[in-house]
């Protein structure tokens, strides 16, 4: 069953009609519905083009959070071979909001790290909706240590509403864990590529996204605060999230303009959730391209490149 977003309601109507017609035809072979249903299909496609061609910031947020959007584990399953998950922070626990381990990308061994949100009630709870605790960041640090020691590139897939705001997470040093993870990214002597595949939620995302190359899917977002959070603080009204989303400049296109994202990976028509395989393959090709561009680069040059990149960020604002 397709999940429709609120702005997709007219589309749901048309696609529903088409499906209904076809169902009728199956029961009643004499009825000729081909022409009619094809016309509806065409209309639906037109509407998709129209809707997705001009998504505003808030709609982008909705698409980025779409429950059927491919998640980290879908990417790992399709793009990587020999995936061997590695668990635990060796201090306290294994955080299921963060998955990662060794894997091969096009035959080359890499370390892959990502946030996993889960895709049904049970798995969402298990993965804590992709909100990592300090253990998640410390696991990532450990994986980066491993990558650095054995010269393996790091690929990170970012998809989190943010770090988990919980009592235990605070007591165990949520902020320190995030800060150290960001620092570890900066220290890596191996190439690092980040893809924001859904939501890049604040510090929880930065901790995995301080990479040589930061790529974003066409309808992904990356923001300092959720539009709802920003609206309730600055507008004193959580309902003003549309205004907040627009003001925050959180779309992939905004980040590209600001020079904070290196490339945008186009999504299939109607968003990654409509054609996950196509979206995942496009991401895979871009990761390979980015890693290829850094092949053979010396550790110090990679570190310097990362430093220069982040130090130079935002010099010109939107005029960039």
């Amino acid at each position: 069953m397709t999940v429709y977003l609120d702005f997709e309601k007219p589309l749901a109507e048309i696609e529903g009609q088409a499906a209904e017609l076809r169902a009728l035809a199956r029961r009643n072979p004499e009825a000729d519905v081909d022409k009619e249903s094809q016309a509806l299909d065409k209309k639906a496609e037109e509407m998709l083009k129209q809707l997705y061609g001009g998504l505003d910031a808030w709609r982008k947020c909705q698409v980025a959070r779409h429950p059927e959007r491919p998640h980290c584990r879908d990417y790992i399953a399709r793009l990587f071979t020999d995936y061997t998950p590695l668990a635990g922070d060796r201090n306290f626990a294994d955080d299921h909001a963060v998955m990662g381990g060794l894997a091969r990308l096009d035959g080359t061994p890499v370390v892959v790290i990502g946030h996993e949100k889960g895709n049904d009630t049970k798995s969402r709870i298990e993965h804590n909706f992709g909100m990592a605790r300090p253990e998640g960041y410390r696991k990532a640090i450990r994986l980066m240590d491993l990558a650095d020691r054995f010269g393996l590139p790091v690929v990170s897939l970012v998809d989190t509403p943010g770090a988990y705001p919980g009592k235990g997470a605070e007591e165990r040093g949520q902020s320190e864990a995030i800060a150290r993870s960001t620092q570890r990214c900066l220290q890596l002597g191996v190439p690092m590529v980040t893809v924001v595949i859904g939501e890049g939620g604040s510090g929880g995302a930065v901790a995995f996204a301080t990479a040589n190359r930061v790529l974003m899917l066409e309808h992904s977002i990356y923001s300092v605060i959720s539009p709802e959070g920003c609206a309730s603080i600055l507008w004193k009204d959580a309902g003003k999230m549309q205004e907040a989303a627009a003001a925050l400049r959180l779309t992939a296109q905004d980040l590209k303009t600001l020079g904070l994202c290196d490339a945008i990976v186009p999504e299939p028509l109607g968003g990654a959730h409509r054609h996950p395989k196509q979206a995942i393959d496009a991401v895979g090709a871009e990761i390979l391209k980015a890693l290829g561009s850094m092949a053979g680069t010396k550790p110090k040059a990679l570190r310097d490149d990362r430093r220069k990149k982040f130090l130079g960020m935002g010099k010109n604002g939107l005029a960039a």
């Binding site: 605070e170 320190e176 620092q183 510090g203 400049r249």
Partner: protein, 360 residues
């Protein structure tokens, strides 16, 4: 005329009248409610003399009490694009900045300065909570990078006093990018082998805590400072339970292994001198190595040297908070036998602006 009109009424009137004294003369302690006279309060570095509550202190006042002789030179911070996203909520961001400048008299939420601390060169940075909640935007990012670069150039340690509500939302994603940017600054110090000490003050939260404020070689906090990633209200809304007493306060973090020390403001200067000298491989500070104070009674206004860069040299000559304790009386007597110190060649030049470290 009776006892009530002659005695009780005037007393009552005077009791209420006392609450009406101009705000700038008396400050009420937010914790215990004691009315504190402004001079006394400033002398005590804005710490309540009754309950020890640490109140807001402006970066300039903090530096005046930190650096030798209350003398420091501001480090120029590269100006970023103002209002890079043309942000507007219920109010324009550019207006908010203008208001904050008017309110604080400062350009932005962070002040960076160089000077000497116990005759050792030092770079210090302090965040101003009164300037848009000390929030971290491009300017604060630039300030921290400039502080680190200055420290590396001068081979001096960096002490950073943090205070912030988090990242500056009005700069959107650009404020978030200050997290990795400031972490690069920390990396520069690390690579240069220079100490980086963070003094967390009330409150330090959000993206600031999750970047440079938690990456110090030594982490010190002021008593009862709120230090967290997510604020207590957000957590209560998430987990639907009441948080324990003192949760996310400095002492709580110390108990949970997240800090090295909790140090009252009045003792920080001496502690920083001790720690930094050890980390820099310098001999212990000799309490008697100072020339005689300019005035026999060090309670007077701190002497500000007429430095070449006079306009950049700050200090609050009249209102400046004094050192927590007067200089030891024996200091002048022993000054003659001072052994050669790393900073000795500058001793004469600096004589006026060096303050006697207080007695242990």
């Amino acid at each position: 005329m009776n006892w009530i009109t002659n005695y009780v009424r005037p007393r009552i009137t005077s009791m209420f009248a006392r609450r009406d004294v101009p705000e700038n003369l008396w400050t009420k302690c937010d914790e215990c409610g004691t009315m504190l006279f402004h001079r006394e309060l400033a002398e005590n570095l804005n710490v309540c003399s009754n309950c020890g509550h640490h109140m807001y202190i402006a970066p300039r006042a903090r530096f005046t009490s930190l650096f030798d002789g209350g003398t420091f030179t501001e480090v120029k911070v590269p100006e970023p694009v103002v209002d890079p996203l043309s942000f507007r909520d219920t109010k324009k961001y550019s207006d908010r900045i203008r208001d904050a400048r008017k309110k604080t008299g400062e350009k932005e939420a962070m002040l960076v300065a160089t000077g000497e601390l116990g005759r050792m060169p030092l770079v210090a940075a302090a965040q101003d909570f009164n300037f848009m909640a000390g929030s971290m935007g491009m300017y604060v990012g630039n300030a921290i990078v400039a502080a680190a670069e200055t420290a590396v150039k001068r081979k001096a340690p960096l002490v950073l006093f943090s205070a912030a509500g988090g990242a500056r939302m009005q700069e959107g994603i650009l404020s978030l990018m200050q997290m990795p940017r400031t972490t690069v600054a920390v990396e520069m110090l690390r690579e240069a082998g220079l100490p980086y000490i963070v003094v967390l003050t009330h409150p330090t939260t959000g993206g600031v805590t999750a970047s440079y404020a938690m990456l110090g070689d030594v982490q010190i906090a002021e008593p009862n400072a709120l230090i967290c990633f997510a604020g207590p209200r957000v957590i209560e809304q998430t987990i639907h339970e009441k948080l324990p007493e003192g949760f996310q306060r400095a002492e709580y973090l110390l108990d949970h292994g997240m800090l090295d020390r909790v140090t009252p403001r009045g003792k920080q200067r001496d502690e920083l001198i001790d720690i930094l000298r050890m980390l820099m491989g310098l001999p212990p500070a000799i309490k008697a190595d100072l020339p005689p104070p300019a005035t026999p009674e060090p309670q007077g206004d701190p002497v500000t040297l007429s430095e070449p860069a006079a306009e950049e040299t700050a200090g609050l000559p009249a209102e400046a908070p004094k050192p927590a304790e007067p200089a030891p009386a024996e200091a002048p007597a022993k000054a003659a036998e001072t052994p050669a110190k790393p900073a000795a060649k500058e001793a004469d030049k600096d004589a006026g602006k060096t303050r006697a470290p207080s007695k242990k």
